[in-house]
Symmetry: C2
Subunit: 151 residues, 2 copies
């Protein structure tokens, strides 16, 4: 696993995809999202249901239904997704797994780790959910493995 759980990785990719597809109106179905980010459909459905309940995306049932986002969500930070899925440990937790990270009783790598943690926090708080629509449209950024490309 990487820095984020697999669930959280799917969540971020999916929300980027939905933002990209519906920023100008409309909805996108679960099948299309799963295909677009290369994730297991039924598993992703669970994740999106949860994000929808928490207000990180929006959804509508029935014909022409699907997932979508509004202006407010487009301006929310990536951190909203990560916190909803993985919790806030990544912003506050100790790099060596001590029960709590503290300035008074720091673990050996506390200072260096804190800098990294802050940089992660910065990335997640300043990156807006809708911030990559242009890159995604232009194909400069991708949300799944591109074919015919070694390494």
């Amino acid at each position: 696993m990487g820095i984020f759980s697999k669930t959280c990785e799917y969540a971020m990719r999916a929300v980027f995809f939905i933002a990209h597809k519906t920023a100008g109106g409309g909805r996108v179905g679960i099948k299309e999202v799963a295909l677009g980010i290369d994730s297991p459909e039924h598993f992703l459905a669970k994740i999106l249901q949860d994000l929808s309940r928490r207000g990180v995306i929006q959804s509508a049932k029935g014909p022409n239904g699907g997932f979508y986002v509004d202006e407010v969500i487009l301006n929310m930070p990536l951190a909203s997704i990560v916190e909803a899925v993985d919790g806030s440990d990544i912003f506050t937790g100790c790099g060596l797994g001590l029960e709590y990270c503290s300035e008074e009783n720091p673990c050996p790598i506390h200072h260096e780790f804190k800098a990294i943690r802050n940089q992660i926090q910065d990335l997640l708080k300043t990156t807006k959910i809708g911030g990559f629509n242009k890159e995604l449209n232009m194909g400069i950024a991708v949300l799944k493995k591109q074919k015919n490309l070694p390494q």
Copy 2:
């Protein structure tokens, strides 16, 4: 979970502890290590056996036996432990979980994430296993939760 797996967190704390206790010679038993870093003894034993097999620590059976490290190990980077336990995904993996991280087909957060990944790599490669013995001796750095300290 944090950036590293729980197993990896235990491993790093344990190796720091062993380095601290045996840098001047001698061995330290599994019970003392488990107590010293506040980890489950039998689970930690498995982790240390594995690290020993991989040459990240040394061990001796019988009376006066236990775990220890030599000069060579004291100068090895923290990265050796992390790689042995969690693999090298943390050095190369994509922040959004794409199959591979690539400059040609980057995910939306590729550039910012790469900077973070490099900083983690830098921390793990420049931090020596024996680099904190002084701090640990002086009590300036700790390897388990300190008692009677709120937050």
